[in-house]
């Protein structure tokens, strides 16, 4: 989207250079790994990789000769952001082992803690726990029973 004139911006030379270099590596990798494919299968990804390479080199040159600017990203807690990423990754990886219900209840509780900025009271804690329980329970019933989606039960619990 176009950058609003009022939006605070910052110097994008370093970030554009990093972006261009990462994309050059990806495009070069795509070309290298397409060597073993048949012509029919490789013609499209190779064409795209070459185009990506050209655009990335153009971005690299632009970051050297011009003074690009970038909208300043939203400020906020880095620790909470990283915490959310970690919880979401562990949640997705643990579905198979812990089962859908256990992994989801544990992860949802952790996310509620990460997103909460005020003091915890017993009433608030109880209210949130009931609400989250209802949401998770409701969706679990909808998907597992009504829509018959085979949600993972958890490999870890098979021996118990």
């Amino acid at each position: 989207m176009a950058t609003d004139p009022q939006t605070p911006t910052l110097d994008a030379r370093r970030s554009d250079r990093s972006l261009a270099l990462v994309m050059i590596v990806i495009a070069a990798g795509a070309i290298v790994f397409s060597r073993d494919m048949s012509i029919m299968a490789s013609v499209f990804p190779r064409t795209i990789a070459v185009l990506l390479l050209v655009f990335s080199v153009a971005l690299l040159i632009k970051s050297v000769v011009a003074h690009p600017r970038l909208a300043r990203p939203e400020a906020g807690s880095v620790a909470r952001r990283l915490g959310l990423i970690a919880v979401m990754l562990i949640w997705s990886l643990s579905l198979k082992w812990l089962g859908f219900l256990v992994a989801s209840v544990a992860s949802a509780a952790l996310l509620a803690g990460l997103a909460h900025y005020h003091a915890w009271t017993a009433r608030r804690l109880g209210g949130y726990a009931v609400a989250l329980g209802l949401i998770i329970g409701g969706f679990y019933i909808l998907f597992a029973i009504v829509l018959n989606v085979p949600l993972p039960a958890g490999l870890l619990w098979r021996h118990f």
């Binding site: 989207m1 176009a2 950058t3 609003d4 970030s15 554009d16 972006l19 994309m23 795509a30 790994f33 494919m37 048949s38 029919m40 299968a41 490789s42 013609v43 990804p45 064409t47 795209i48 990789a49 185009l51 990506l52 655009f55 990335s56 153009a58 971005l59 632009k62 970038l70 939203e74 906020g76 807690s77 909470r80 952001r81 915490g83 959310l84 990423i85 979401m88 990754l89 949640w91 997705s92 990886l93 579905l95 859908f100 992860s107 949802a108 509780a109 996310l111 990460l114 997103a115 909460h116 900025y117 949130y128 989250l132 998770i136 969706f139 998907f143 989606v149 085979p150 949600l151 993972p152």
Partner: protein, 505 residues
């Protein structure tokens, strides 16, 4: 007269009840991220097997219409398109909700969806046989150029950093090639992983790229997710109507684009809404406001994606080729009911066909009261939910929605990883829309490109295969217009040097 009496049969109490249930169920399923209109129709198809053919078709049409519209709720309120066809609704719907106009955005989406749905159904009623013949003339090369036309929308969607838009699209296109190739069945970029053989699932990628960045930024600050609406202003129906009247040409154009795109087999609501958004932005006097909460953006996308419902039924009924993915499911339901699509639908089975079209009109009209009612509560509840409940709830819906697409936990991992990559890339100026566009259009472009290349080789001239047909040339002209227009506009609005300014006065 016969046509009218067949259509009036849709007004029987049972059919009306089925249309109401279908629209409400469709809206609720479509509003959940990860559950597309295709899934809504597919999940509920077995319910219709025991019904009379007319009733079954009316219910499926109502579910489809409701689900396409329902996709706009999540797009407006949590920046996550409930269905892929609501991708473009996030561009202006979410900024509107952030500034406290979510109620107006939902009302506009309801009104636009109704207008689009009615125009699409009217096209189905009047133009079906004629338009289906034109769609048949589209060969692989035309599909390739159509996909390229879709990709050129990036220049409109990422104005200000077009280069980064193209880089994002390149990344999306490369991601679309992971797995077994469209032609040749080679295994590409799977790196020995059996999970990557199936490729990157588009809807999981879409959920990750749009939703995870919102979650990451939601937990970072204690401030409210959306601005609460002013008290006592209701659903802002009158305001919505006046904005619809102001955008009547935009709405009409978007409905025509939606119907036309849907007639082309395989192209769906996502392409229709993106094309109409781009056109609305290109022609609007307020084009600079697009992407910042411009009501015309919501009108364009929501009119277009609901117009695809009626439009998509044209090739489905006349040729037996599904116009959009949910039409493929409905086509299957028709076969189960013992119907053969083709000219018979307008001769032997004309009663069923026109009763169904009547049902589609009724379902679309019912969407207005049902949609406004559900939409009002959806906005109020999303605004009043504290972040400590909103974040885990949205995260849970993304996880369960992604898993349910293919019952595959690996898709969930891919969704989260792509979401994190999308968040990092957006901090570097690469927005998620070009990546998603690349992912969606990649397989269409590749199939058309390789088939066109093979046809060209067989006929002795690859150039002639790609540039020799009038339909191809017409699409190429549209591609050029789409690429050159933003550049021309940027050149004309460039800051003038003092010398130029002096000469100009």
């Amino acid at each position: 007269m016969d046509t009218l009496s067949f259509m009036a049969a849709a007004l029987s109490p049972v059919n009306l009840m089925l249309a109401i249930i279908g629209v409400a169920a469709g809206i609720l399923i479509g509003a959940l991220p990860g559950l597309s209109a295709t899934m809504a129709v597919a999940v509920l198809v077995p319910v219709t097997f025991g019904m009379a053919p007319e009733a079954a078709l009316i219910m499926l049409g109502a579910i489809y219409t409701g689900a396409i519209y329902g996709g706009s709720y999540a797009a407006i309120l949590v920046n996550t398109p409930g269905t892929p066809s609501a991708i473009a609704t996030t561009f202006d719907g979410y900024p509107m909700a952030k500034r406290g106009d979510g109620d107006l955005a939902v009302t506009l989406s309801t009104l636009s969806s109704m207008v689009g749905g009615l125009i699409g159904a009217l096209a189905l009623l009047t133009l079906a046989p004629l338009l289906a013949q034109i769609a048949l003339k589209f060969g692989p090369v035309e599909y390739f150029w159509l996909a390229i036309f879709g990709l050129t929308l990036i220049s409109a969607l990422s104005e200000g950093s077009t280069l980064k838009g193209f880089i994002g699209a390149g990344l999306g296109l490369l991601l679309s090639t992971v797995g077994v190739s469209v032609i040749g069945a080679d295994i590409r970029y799977a790196f020995g992983s059996q999970f990557l053989l199936g490729g990157v699932e588009t809807i999981s990628a879409l959920i990750g790229l749009y939703c995870v960045p919102v979650l990451i930024d939601l937990v970072a600050t204690p401030s409210a997710h959306l601005e609460p609406p002013e008290k006592g202003r209701g659903i802002r129906f009158a305001e919505g109507l006046s904005l619809m009247w102001r955008g009547k040409f935009n709405s009409l154009r978007s409905a025509i684009i939606g119907t036309a795109v849907a007639i082309l087999p395989g192209a769906g609501g996502s392409i229709a809404s993106l094309v109409s958004y781009s056109e609305a932005r290109r022609t609007s006097p307020r084009s600079d406001n697009f992407g910042k909460g411009e009501p015309d953006g919501v009108i364009a996308t929501e009119t277009a994606n609901n117009a695809t419902v009626g439009g998509g039924f044209i090739p489905t009924f006349v040729l037996g080729i599904p116009g959009t993915p949910p039409d493929a499911v409905i086509l299957g339901a028709l076969l189960v009911q013992g119907f053969r699509t083709g000219p018979e639908m307008f001769t032997t089975n004309v009663g069923v066909t026109y009763t169904f079209i009547g049902g589609l009109f009724i379902a679309t009209l019912l969407m207005l009261p049902i949609g406004l009612l559900i939409g009002r509560y959806a906005f109020k509840s999303i605004v009043s939910i504290p972040k400590a409940l909103l974040v885990p709830s949205i995260a849970f819906m993304t996880i369960i929605g992604t898993y349910a697409i293919r019952n595959n936990p690996f898709d969930v991992v891919v969704m989260v990883i792509l979401g994190v990559i999308g968040w990092m890339l957006s901090r570097y100026g690469v927005k998620p829309s070009p990546i998603v566009l690349g992912l969606i259009l990649g397989p269409i472009a590749e199939q058309g490109f390789v088939q066109g290349y093979l046809m060209g080789n067989a006929s002795g001239s690859v150039v002639n295969a790609f540039f020799g047909r009038p339909l191809s040339l017409a699409i190429i002209a549209m591609v050029l217009l789409s690429v050159l227009f933003p550049l021309l506009r940027a050149w004309r609005s460039r800051p003038r040097t003092p010398k130029e300014t002096a000469n100009g006065h």
